[in-house]
Structure formats: structure tokens, C-alpha cells
Point group: D2
Chain length 337, copies 4
């Protein structure tokens, strides 16, 4: 049984991590942290966990955490992560960081998009980007895994087979992304109130959403040349789920069957990617670690559709998938069987 800690236990990704870990046969949660000083029981923070964990949320230092856990999920806000992670690594923990702090390899890009100087540029470069569907082989030996963003995972998994094979133009890729509200986190804000989001669909962060450089970094790496996307997120009136409708330009003609086969071959060993013939729907992947993908032509325009659960495959599910790989377990452990 691997001993597991979660830093920042009050948000939705921590809640989903705990729900998954409650069923996991090889993991035991031994520490939860919060900045609150009153040591709330975890079921006071997340009433759905009542009776499932006998753990309080403590204001622990990274050093204290390291004495209790070998693997640490860091579910802190960005900038807070890069303060805690170095101490955790120095103390010998392996870290899966769910923040954005270690996802971008270039500290200049981080600063440009997040508005902060990166204080740990060395480890930034050595962190492994934890998307097993494309970087599986890099993960087993990693000490620091940067868990990908939710929009990022969906977009990359949807485009990786085409980009890797050089089948599409590397620029002008339009991503029209639709997400449920849980992606915006649990901190009360006007924009995520029920009475503001419900019965409404709206675009936001057009041209400046922080998942953009992350998508481009990985796709550029896979394609061997600079990839540029126009990423357009929209808020949907639902709890969870992301659908990306992606409009790339094919370089040569191909049929739907040829394209689906390229996808099937690319993901032949990936248990969580389902290449489907029917239309995806976020409900079909809700509460699972699956990513459903299909392609269509609309007139001459290729369209790739990909759907995930933003809290599972987009955050906590892939984090456990990464944990499984770090522990040498089957990727599916606790997620699919």
C-alpha cells in the first residue's frame, strides 16, 4: 500500500482524488492539508465523503507531509505549488502536481501567461508532462509529474495522431471547447454562481486562456515543428464534462475510415481512449477516465470531436493514472477495474 498525501484538500480535484483513492487497492491516504488552522475533518469540507476517511485536514509543512507519504498530489493554486514542490522533492517524495506550475518547460512562457516569475526553473525543465497517452514512457521514473490541464488533455489527445503523422497544417487549428462549471474551481466568484451560469452558454478568455501554450508546447513536440492553435473556451451549464470540437486543415485528402484507423492504431495500447463511430457526448464519459473521440467531414472541413470528464480524465483520474505508472501498477488500477 503506497502512502499518499494530498496538498490542498478543499477543492473539487481533491474531492475527486479522494473518491477514486477510496476504491484504490494499492493506495492509502495518510495526510491532507489546508491553510485553515482549525483542522477540519475531511467530511466537513466534503460531506459526500462522510464515513469514508478518518482524516483531518492539517496545516502541515512539506517536510511534515514527507514523513507521512511517498507520493504527494499537489492540488494547490499555481505559484503555491512551486513553493511546496521543491521541499517535497528534496525530502524524497514523488510529486504529482495538479497546478500549472510545472507544465510549461520554458520559464519565459510561464511568466508571459501567468504573470509571475517562475521561482523553480531547474525543476521546471526536468518535470515530466503527465499525459500517459502521449508520454507514457517518460513517466515511470519521474520524481515530478506535471499533471495536465483539462482542456489541454482533451485537445492534445484529439490532435496527437494527426500532428504526429504530419497530416494537418500546424497552424490555424481552431479549437472550440465547451466545459462544465466545475473546471472553474470551488472559490466563490460571481461568474460561477448558479444563477449566473445556469441556462446560459458563453465564451470567455478568448485569445488568452492559459491552456493555450500548454497545448501548443506538447503538440509542437509531437509534430516536430511549431504548432499554433486558436483556442476558444465556452462555459456550459453543467457540472462536469468537456467537449472539444476541433477544426484542423488536412494536408492531403483522406477518408473518415482511414482517419479513424490512424487514431485506433495510435491509441491501441491506451485503455482510456475510445475511438468511436457515433457522436461523443460528455454524459457518456462523465465519472469515468475515458476520452471519447471521433472525426467527421463537414463539407471539406475535417472536424475532430473529443469528450472527457474534466474532473476525472481532465484532472484527478489522470493523476491517479500517473500514480499507477509511478508505482508500476496497471494504468487502470482503481480507475477501470
Amino acid at each position: 500500500m503506497a502512502k499518499i498525501a494530498i496538498l490542498g484538500a478543499t477543492g473539487y480535484t481533491a474531492l475527486e482524488l479522494l473518491k477514486i483513492l477510496a476504491r484504490h487497492p494499492e493506495a492509502e491516504v495518510t495526510a491532507l492539508t489546508t491553510r485553515q488552522e482549525n483542522r477540519p475533518h475531511i467530511s466537513e469540507i466534503h460531506p459526500s465523503l462522510y464515513g469514508m476517511f478518518d482524516l483531518t485536514c492539517e496545516n502541515l509543512t512539506p517536510e511534515e507531509v514527507s514523513t507521512r507519504a511517498e507520493i504527494v498530489f499537489c492540488a494547490l493554486p499555481h505559484t503555491a505549488s512551486m513553493e511546496a514542490v521543491p521541499q517535497l522533492l528534496d525530502a524524497g517524495c514523488r510529486v504529482i502536481d495538479l497546478s500549472a506550475d510545472y507544465r510549461l518547460t520554458d520559464p519565459g512562457v510561464y511568466e508571459a501567461w501567468y504573470g509571475h516569475v517562475h521561482t523553480d526553473p531547474t525543476r521546471l525543465r526536468s518535470a515530466v508532462y503527465g499525459l500517459p497517452e502521449v508520454y507514457f514512457n517518460r513517466i515511470p521514473g519521474a520524481s515530478l509529474v506535471a499533471n495536465p490541464g483539462c482542456y489541454t488533455s482533451t485537445s492534445i489527445i484529439a490532435l496527437a495522431p494527426l500532428v504526429s503523422a504530419g497530416l494537418i497544417e500546424p497552424d490555424g487549428i481552431i479549437i472550440d471547447a465547451k466545459s462544465g462549471v466545475s473546471g472553474a474551481g470551488r472559490t466563490p466568484k460571481l461568474g460561477t454562481l448558479f444563477s449566473e451560469c445556469n441556462e446560459s452558454v458563453s465564451p470567455y478568455s478568448i485569445g488568452n486562456h492559459r491552456h493555450t501554450p500548454e497545448i501548443e508546447q506538447v503538440l509542437s513536440d509531437l509534430g516536430g515543428k511549431s504548432v499554433e492553435v486558436a483556442f476558444n473556451p465556452h462555459l456550459m451549464p453543467m457540472d462536469r464534462g468537456i467537449l472539444c470540437s476541433i477544426y484542423p486543415r488536412l494536408r492531403n485528402s483522406a477518408t473518415i475510415d482511414e482517419l479513424l484507423n490512424i487514431y485506433r492504431r495510435f491509441y491501441v495500447d491506451q485503455p482510456f481512449v475510445r475511438i468511436i463511430d457515433h457522436m461523443p457526448a460528455t454524459k457518456h464519459v462523465a465519472h469515468t477516465n475515458f476520452c471519447d473521440i471521433t472525426v467527421r467531414f463537414n463539407r471539406n472541413q475535417l472536424v475532430v470531436f473529443a469528450a472527457i470528464d474534466n474532473l476525472i480524465k481532465g484532472a484527478s483520474g489522470v493523476a491517479v493514472q500517473n500514480m499507477n505508472i509511478l508505482l508500476g501498477l496497471d494504468q487502470r488500477t482503481g480507475l477501470l477495474n
Copy 2:
């Protein structure tokens, strides 16, 4: 007071028509029809109208309707409309047809997309496409107004200023459209059950949605050359609202301010088009006849966002707007003041 009939009173568009007409100072509803033989009171069909109309839904012939009304809203399914409309016109009524039967000027295009031979091709050519924002001058003298589709209105209003000025390439226009469920009508179907749609986003009818030729017909007319769109509708978990996110290719560079000014000038006389600086949201136009539009650049990609209420501006509101024009009233009567 104009005497008004509604053919096909059981659906959502009829319900919205009745709610608007209940407040309209110059219209009196005098007949409602249904194929049901039991003459249900309108408030049995639509309980929200209880106490507002003392009308039963009758199985009337077009001739019978024509003796009671001068203007007829035809809210029948397609193919049923083109059976009723000729008789209504022959009997002297003016007709606003909410079905698709008189929207496409070419009967061959109608047959190709709807799978039926058009049985009234002569009137098909003389019908006026009832989108006042682009064809205002054609409507006042019309005897038959083809009320536009919901996605169609949104897409055309969003693109008309650019297409009319020749600012964008006429082909490869990507429309990523998101609609609430009421657009699918009130006939029980698996796909529109609450438990299927709720908490889900999914694409549908990719490449074969029947609003496609309608959008292209009007934009081609406005642009003076053949316009081609890749129209991609998505179902959203909400009652009402459409947001179109449109990705055209600009022919020459322009700034956002220049583009917004082009839109403002184009719609200077249109009380229901709001050119906004902030992001549109379907909630901001819900239960109104407004269409909110803005534009952005994402990298080099122009994006046009347009939002309407699919049941109002997308169906019953624009139908009353057309009625106002036929009656020589201010367009806004009963809709905005």
C-alpha cells in the same frame, strides 16, 4: 386590432407566440388549430396560459381559419405547411410560416435536404424570407413570409455585415453553434428526454443539418457570390438560447474597432441587434428578441460571437416582428415596448 390565427397551437413556438401576443396592443388571437378532435382548451395544452386566453384549439380547415383571421401564423411541421398555406393565401389571409417549407427558393434544394418534392414551387419563389435585419424592405407588402430558422437567423445576422462588404472569404466559414433543447420541439423523443440531455453537451447532424442551405442561400444573396459554410450544431443542457461561434477568414487585416463599427453601421436602424464589447451569453438575451454580437481575434483568427433566444428571436419573436411590419406598426410593438 388585427385578427390573428395560429395553425398548430401545441408546440413551443405557438406557446411563445401566445405569450407575446397576450401583451400586444394591436393583435387579437381569434383562432387556434390542432389535429386533435377533442377541442382542448389552450390552457390544457399550455398550463402557463391559464386565464390568459379564452380559446379552444379546433380542428379547422384553412378556409374556416380564413374567416376568422387576417394574419395567420403557421406553426405546422414541414410538408404540412405547404398543404395549408396555398389555401390560406387563396382565401385572402397573409401568412407567416414558421416551418421550413417556404424558406428555400429552389425546390430542388428543398427536395435534396428535406426528402420531399415541393408541392407549391410557384409560391416558394414569391415568398419573402422574413429576416427584417437583412430584408426589411421586402416584407411590408408580402402576402407570404417565410419565418427563418433559429440557427439561420443567428448565423446570418452574425455574418451579414462581413459578407455584404466582401470582407471575408466566401467559403470555409466554420460555424460552431450551441443550442438549448427547446429547439428540438415538443414531440417526445429519446434524445430530448431530460435524463439524456441534462449534464451533457454533444454535437449532432454534422454535415447534414437542414439550416445549412438556408444560411448559404441568404448569405450568397447578400454577398453576390456563392457562400459555403461548415455548420456544426451542438445540443446544450438548457431550455433556450443559441450561441454561434463563427470562424471566418478575413480577406484583409482589420482591427476589432473597425469591425465593430462596420457592424454598428450595418445595424444602425435595427432595434433588436446589439453590437456589444463584452462577451455575449445566452442568458443575456433569454426571453427577449435581441441578438447580441461581438467580434474578437484569437491569434490571427477572427471570431464572431452571436447569441439569441431560439424561441423568441429564433422563432416567435421574429414572427411577431414580421407581423408588425406587415401591419405597418413599429417593429418593436409588443416586443420591446
Copy 3:
């Protein structure tokens, strides 16, 4: 045209007031206030109002407001109202207060339930409780109208005919109330985030909801003896609407028809109360000022069902209804025709 001001223009009740007043033929909004100092345009606060009002929200004193308006809607939080209202009244305005500050006639009861000493007990006693369905005659000459709470209106309208006629036991009346989330206001709080409320139903404030003494005060007045209710509110995953399912004990046997007739007679002159035979649904009254009521027996237990839109009949609609009465207009002006 009556000149109208709204104090506290940023919340949902102010938004709904403005939507109603935009259509009202006898009212002109001349001032809006906020504590924000940056003078935001009203459409920056409420984007749905874009283009409808050319008004900024100003940090005005009550005296300044009084120079611009004859009727003032006070949509401030409780305790803030009882600071502003005396000054408005002294300056000659007539005030419709949407807060709870002037609803309870006994300052001791106010202090017990709101935790604050009432600083304006004199006016507390002279304020008129603005529920036209039961106190119509008191309102025309009032200078200060205390606009009722949303749960309160629903409960009182549902019970007034029975209590007034002495048909039910005055104690042990169980009210199981279900409300949409907008009733909780527009201030960001964890409990009203979309991701907390959506897909969830839960009870709250059992035994201590502040609408309890308000319901009891009015029903006791109508019944001529002390009435006691067990009021149990529940939060529903929807924007707007209240359904109260009320379980009183009949003192003598009666049939459903007899009871419905008692209701119909009681409300014969009230245009917004609809006594129905079918089951009410909040959707049937959404965006209207109606209150739909029916009664049933379940075994021997009488059940009264009543539905309203909490933002309209439960707040802003009844406020305009009160304004109409103050101005000597038909109650329905701007609300129903």
C-alpha cells in the same frame, strides 16, 4: 410618468425591477444607486439590460435620490434599509422597501430573528405590508410599503382563505417549501456556486428561516388568533421559482370543490392569483406575476400547493404591483398588459 429610483441596483431583484419598468407605460427610472464609487453603467452590472437604459449607478445619498424620484424602490440589504428609508420619507418620497426591515411590526421580533436592534421602530409600526392579495386596501395611501418575502407571499396567499375562514387549526401547519437559487441573492458564496447546487436538492435553515415570523404575523392577523407554522425551506437546482406544499389540518370535513370555491371567492378580484384544477409547476408561472394554487387530499391529509416566480411575484413583480396601487393605476399595468 412617475419618476422612479432604485437603491441598490446590483442584485437580482433590481435587475427584474428594471426589466419590468422598461415596459411600464407610466414609470420612468431616473436614478440608480450603488456603493461602488466608479459609477458603472447599469449595463456593465447587468449585461442583459444593454441598450435599454441610459443610466449609471451612482453613490447617491437618500437626499440626492429624493430630488430625482417620487417613488423609491429600496433593494438594499436589511439594516441598510432602515438607515436610508427615514431620510427618503422625510424628503417626501414614497418608498417600497424590498428588504426585511419594515415587515415585522414588533421590533422585538425583528431583533430576535435578525440579530439587530431596530433603529426605526416608529415607522416599523406605520409601514404597510405590501401583499395586495390580502391588504389591498391599506396600500393606496401608504408612504412606506414593506414588500413581502418570497416564501412569505407564497405561503400567505396559499393559506389566507383557509385561515381567514377559520377552516384549519392555527398551529402545526407544515410548509415544505422549494426554491430556486436566485432567492439566495447575487453575492458569491460557496453554497450558491453552480457546482454545489446543480444536481442537488437539500433542506436548509430548518427551524430558523427568517420568513417564519413574517408568515405567522400576517396569518395571525388574518385569522384573529396566533398562527404557528413549521416552515421547511429546500434549495432546488433551478434559477427561479418557489413551490410550497402545505399540510394544514382541516377542522371540519370539506370536499376539494368546496375548498377550491372558497379560494376562488376569496381571490375573485385578484388578477394574479389563479386557482387551478391541475397540478402547479414553477415553470408555469416563471417570468410572470402569477401565483398558481390548488388543493388535494392525500388520504385524509389536506395539501395546498402554491407556485410563484420568486423574483417576480416573490419580489420585483409585487413591488411594481404595489407601485401601481400607490400611483392609482390598474394593478396589472406593466405586469399583465
Copy 4:
């Protein structure tokens, strides 16, 4: 590995059964049935199961089913169940029937509430009511388990400790129940369309809901005297979840702590009942087999609140719980660990 069949695989309860069984370590699904003749793959019926089961839905006779499975979940409509179950039992299968056909011990009561003569009255009497929280000891040796209704389970679990101890009056128990829409099944009907249910709360089947006699039968058995409830169901705009707010009359005074302790002792061995201090919410039990319960006083009125997921604890979860008991497994297998 126990071999499992599901009769009637197209509905929501079958879908949830399959999701649970996919994770279950001791069960293998070997047959699925439908009346459709085209042998659809299960993932065509339920796209969320894509890749998880390699099974088609076949139009099998009970005899054919019995050669493939030792335990059969019967998810057929009522009356269809009592045709299939006798044949399954005769062929040696053990049956967990999710319909209502074997829940009521008295065939006359069945006929009165369901409008059909019961055609298998002998087995009706020998079937075991499959609510482990009250009848655990009867289940292990059963050949036919009648799986309880969703409202029924919630109501019985909420009241069993009070009724068993004789703490409340046996009549006049008011149950105000709120359910998500999935409880109404997957057959397309006007009343369960998204556009009808969304943004709406409404009561239905007041006085004639078929779960009433089921609740009374079990509570009467537990209390040793006839129990009578006024059961009032309401439809909520959400997928899943039931909250029952129950208003019984205490026979003697008691404190909340005393009552909570009675509940805790009653359910000390039941892993799926959580006696909580905070307010329950359907979201806290969604996608789990838990039933959360608390009690409060409102004035002098006792209120019991209980929440479940209607598809899990209210149907498919308790069905698997029953299967576990039949197989001699820990109740929690596949459900909680």
C-alpha cells in the same frame, strides 16, 4: 465468478447495473435481453458502456437465459416480470426483480394499485422484500428477491427506527418526497422532456403513487400495527437523487441527540446508512449506494430528512447489494470497495 443476466437491458436501471457490475470482482455478465429483434450491441443502447462489455442484447426466452446465468436481474416493466419470473425460478435461477410485481404481499393490494390481476400469487407470498437495512436475514436463502422502489427505500430507511421502537404515531405520517427525473424511466413521454422538466418543480400522483402501499406494508410489518402515510412526490430538475422530508408525530418528547442515537444503533451494522449531523443533499450521495439521514425539530414538529441516489441505492445499487448477500459476499463488494 457468478454468471449474471439482465432481462430488459435498455433502461436506466440496467445501465447502472452494468456500470456497477463492470467493477464487481465476483460477477460476470453473460446475457442481456431486449424485445428488439435486431440484436443491438449493448454499447449502441448505452454509448457510455462502449468498450466495456462485448455483449449483444438478445430476444431470449427465460429458459435460454437460465442456461447462461445463475442470478438474473429482471429489469422489465411490471406485469412483464410476473410472466418471466416463474419460468426463471423453475429453471433454477435466483432472481432479483426490479419491477413492482413481487413487492406487495397481498395480490388484492397489487390489483388495486396496479390495475392488473396478479398472475403469480403463490410466489408473491414467498418473495423476499430486498431491503437489507431491515430484512437482511431473510435474503441469503431467497430464490426470489423483490427489489424495493426508490421512494420506498428512502422512506422506510428513514422511518424504520422510529416505527420499530413505537416512537411515532402510526398514522398521518406526511412524506414530502423530491426526485430527479431518471426515476421516471427512459421511455419518451411529454412530461419527462428536458424542456418540460428543466427549471421546474411540480408535485404529481398526489394520493395515488404506487410506492404508497409498499411503504405502508413494510412499516406496518416493522411496527406491528397498521401504518398509514400521506406520500407526496415531486419532480425535480435533476438527473438523479431523492430527498424525503418526513413529518411524523412523536408520541413522547425526545431530543435530537437521543433520536440520532436511536438511528445509529438501529443501523450500526449497515454500511450504507450514514446518520449525519449536517443537512443531507442529494449531491452528497449521488453515484453512491449511501442513504444519508438526519433529524431536526422545527418548532415542535419532528422532521426526518433522508437522501439517496434513486438509480443506485434506489434501484441498481441495492440490487447488487442483494446479489452480494445471495452470493454470500460482503454487502459492500463492488459498491464501496
